[in-house]
């Protein structure tokens, strides 16, 4: 063996080895997407950073070997416009979050990649847990002919159903017991209106707040009467019917009408949107509120800031007949993550999603949380920079269990994720230091808070879901605006005092104006899914 030969062979081997390792290191794939800009008031970037270049995008590159390029980022308010323009000009990125309508339109135009295999192969068990936690419907809604054509952006829905909040310092002041039935609630509403609970000698309080669009504030009230407006429910024969024309709605409307006549409802409710109605709470003019679990944060905390003695308590919705309530909700999906057909790396979406799920929901390291989740001192919500998000259906409830568990000593703090610890810390600040500005966190997550009610609902399955979540047909897009307008006008009129028989007239009109056709089409869709 010639020395020269050995050296040559060695050199060649070295070069080969080097190029292989360079090849491995340079295994970076580029993927394009578009997104909304996080609200600047909640996210702060160190100099040089932006949503395009953040800790998250750098993490995608370093940990996943994926260079995520945003073609553009736009404010939330213009998202739909801009994405529609993008779609119409044929500029689809590799993947992005499409609305329900956009998803169906892209699907029908054959522009989407089939994700069935990609999902099976690349979705981590954590991601799968998140996507399935709220039930099988989200994934089912994205599946056609057995093929998964998008990843649904699952959201919390059952956690956000209405809860009945009542001002308990007023109950005490007026000598009222806590409500056990709906009749008690009605009595409380009357007393709050007439017996001057804010003690200022003026007849300026109301029992029950209503907003001009009705359903934001009144949905819980309807559900108390087993009325389910605006959603499709099964009737006795198993067919789908529209909740707004069922007899229970009539009963609930009559009750509201009586309350209005009695002065328990603000006569100016018809011109007030949610912001204005919320003023009634914040200024101490109402003592009842039907809202989601976050209501202590908004609007009640504003009241607390001005009146630290005000106390509110959440109750499960009480029903008029004592039966368990069913709270209505719609398909818990915030959109669909779609991948452009022919995209070179469809699995990138899942990989990015897996990373999100891990860091936001399952990771227990404090360090990772303060770097990628939330930096508490500056209140920097860094997690908003993460892409391909999907949300767990029951995270907040679980957080509540953990927080209460730690406070009671039954849960070990090591089981908490960074996010959990953030909540715990705020609850503690209220309980131990009495900081008024974080009262709401305890009222949501602590004992006796919103999530006690959510837990109550969950254990007894107090839910009824909108049974229709398919694509809107042409007829539906034509008829629904008319039907909705008729409904809004009629319901408002009735509450303000029109004879209750107007409701029966409304049913006839609804059917005539297209409701019957829509019902037929909804049922056709329903049958086809069985």
């Amino acid at each position: 063996m010639n020395i020269k030969r050995v050296l040559t062979i060695g050199l060649v081997l070295l070069v080969i080895l080097a190029s292989i390792s360079i090849g491995y290191g340079a295994e970076i794939i580029e993927v394009t997407s578009v997104r909304t800009i996080p609200n600047p008031a909640t996210v702060k970037y160190p100099p040089g950073d932006s949503v395009y270049n953040s800790v998250w995008t750098r993490l995608y590159e370093s940990k996943l070997g994926i260079r995520l390029k945003y073609l553009w980022a736009v404010d939330q308010s213009q998202w739909e416009q801009k994405t529609n323009i993008m779609i119409a000009s044929g500029d689809l990125p590799d993947f992005f979050l499409a609305s329900k309508t956009q998803f169906f339109q892209l699907l029908n135009s054959g522009l989407l990649e089939d994700l069935t295999e990609v999902y099976k192969k690349y979705a981590s068990s954590q991601t799968k847990k998140v996507l399935n936690e709220g039930g099988p419907e989200p994934l089912a809604s994205a599946t056609f002919n057995g093929k998964l054509m998008a990843i649904p952006f699952t959201a919390l829905a059952k956690e956000a159903v209405p809860i009945l909040f009542i001002r308990t310092d007023w109950l005490t002041k007026l000598g009222l017991p806590e409500p056990k039935t709906m009749k008690d609630v009605l009595k409380i509403s009357e007393t709050f209106t007439k017996k001057d609970p804010d003690g200022n000698g003026k007849n300026d309080t109301f029992g029950f707040p209503v907003d001009k669009d009705l359903y934001n504030t009144v949905l819980g009230f309807f559900n108390s009467y087993h009325a389910y407006p605006n959603i499709w429910i099964k009737d006795k024969s198993g067919k789908l019917v529209y909740g707004s024309i069922q007899p229970e709605v009539k009963t609930a409307l009559k009750a509201l009408q009586d309350m209005y006549k009695d002065g328990q409802i603000d006569p100016e409710f018809g011109t007030k949107d949610m912001n204005k109605v919320a003023e009634l709470v914040a200024s101490g003019k109402v003592g009842i509120w039907y809202g989601a679990f976050w209501s202590p944060l908004w609007p009640i905390q504003d009241l607390r800031n001005r009146d630290p003695k005000a106390e509110w308590k959440p109750y499960p919705i009480l029903t008029i007949d004592g039966r368990l309530p069913k709270l209505q909700y719609s398909l818990p999906v915030n959109g669909y993550w779609v991948v452009k057909k022919g995209s070179k790396h469809p699995e990138a979406l899942l990989k990015i999603m897996n990373l999100w799920a891990d860091i936001f929901y399952f990771n227990k390291s404090d360090e990772i949380w303060s770097k990628y989740g939330n930096e508490p001192v500056t209140a920097n919500e860094i997690w908003q920079n993460a892409h391909a998000q999907v949300h767990r259906a029951w995270k907040n409830l679980e957080q509540h269990y953990k927080v209460v568990g730690v406070l009671k000593g039954t849960t070990d703090i090591s089981e908490l994720t960074g996010d959990d610890k953030g909540v715990l810390e705020r609850v503690r600040r209220f309980l131990e230091k009495g900081e008024n500005t974080v009262w709401c966190w305890n009222k949501i997550y602590g004992e006796g808070g919103s999530f006690d009610v959510v837990d109550y609902y969950k254990k007894r399955n107090c839910y009824i879901m909108d049974q229709f979540f398919g694509p809107l047909t042409t007829t539906m897009t034509e008829k629904l605006p008319v039907l909705n307008k008729s409904q809004s006008e009629t319901f408002t009129k009735i509450i303000k005092g029109a004879p209750i028989e107007e409701f029966d007239k409304f049913i006839g009109e609804w059917k005539r104006l297209g409701g019957d056709i829509v019902t037929k089409e909804v049922n056709e869709w329903y049958e086809s899914r069985k």
Binding site: P47, D75, Q78, E279, G284, W298
Partner: protein
């Protein structure tokens, strides 16, 4: 100086009173918004702020301006207004002048005027507008905010009307002296139209300053937003609290986005520069500043 009749004196008093009332009426909403911008969030949420701040705080202004995006977008807006004024006013002037001539002097003027007016009435919608701007390579540049709207037809029509009211003898005399139309425009017509030009300058500047939609749609990167576009991103329209967007984890920032004081601060910071500049432009609205020097 004529002596005023009794009737005229009464009218004068009446005039001052009416105008003062109206001015107060116009001032009041702004004072209210100003008061909100300096009040605590919860006070505003309770609806107790009227004309004076409740629980005075500078928090909302800090929120809005204490960010690098604020000063950056402010500079972009200033640049935009400056460039926009140059381009718009220049084009308005040179376009309005020929169109202010009569048919016999400029045969095609009526057709051309209608070509412009037509564009004020008819449009193809957002999608083709966007695609055209993209095809001409303007996206993500400051020119996207200036070039597509470079010809403000309404202003052109207003200005041509002002030009028309100037005496024709001026042009005739200058032509006899051998001046070109270009000279006549810039040396005679423009100096005599200062009130109109001042008005149009104000409208143009305000238009560019207040415009936010084009910035949001035509800029791919938020770093390129002008001020009002940036301010829009801070205000989330909370039209439906129970709506779908709150089904996600975003509910946590409800405390911030329900804050109306931020909206109020936005209005003020947005309107302030114009309110400061406007009084300076008012000099040009004064009567007879140049007309007096005119010899018939």
């Amino acid at each position: 100086m004529q002596k005023m009749t009794r009737g005229e004196k009464i009218f004068l008093v009446f005039n001052y009173v009416i105008l003062s009332l109206v001015a107060l009426l116009c001032l009041f909403p702004l004072i209210h918004v100003l008061a909100i911008s300096f009040s605590a969030k919860s006070a505003v949420a309770a609806g107790v702020v009227r004309l004076w701040p409740v629980d005075f705080t500078l928090a909302s202004y800090k929120y809005v301006s204490n960010r690098p995006e604020f000063s950056r977008s402010l500079l972009i807006s200033i640049k935009r207004v400056f460039l926009g004024l140059l381009v718009n006013m220049f084009l308005t002037i040179i376009t309005a002048y020929p169109l202010s001539k009569e048919d016999k002097q400029f045969h095609s003027r009526t057709i051309i005027v209608w070509v412009f007016v037509f564009t004020m009435l008819f449009g193809g919608g957002l999608i083709p507008w966007y695609m055209t701007i993209r095809a001409t390579g303007l996206l993500d540049t400051i020119w996207a905010l200036i070039i597509p709207g470079a010809v403000p037809v309404y202003n052109v029509v207003l200005l041509l009307n002002f030009f028309r009211s100037l005496p024709k003898e001026l042009e005739e005399a200058a032509l006899i002296d051998g001046a070109s139309q270009w000279d006549i425009l810039w040396k005679i017509y423009v100096p005599l139209s200062l009130p109109a030009l001042a008005t149009l300058t104000l409208f143009t500047a305000v238009g560019h300053w207040n415009s936010w939609f084009d910035g949001l749609i035509l800029m791919n990167r938020p770093e390129n937003y002008p001020l009002q576009s940036y301010l829009q991103t801070i205000i989330v329209q909370q039209t439906n609290v129970a709506g779908s967007f709150l089904q996600s984890e975003d509910w946590r920032i409800l405390a911030v986005i329900s804050d109306r004081t931020i909206k109020a601060a936005q209005i003020f910071l947005g309107a302030l520069p114009i309110l400061v500049i406007y009084p300076f432009l008012q000099r040009y609205f004064m009567k007879g500043i140049v007309l007096g020097s005119l010899k018939e």
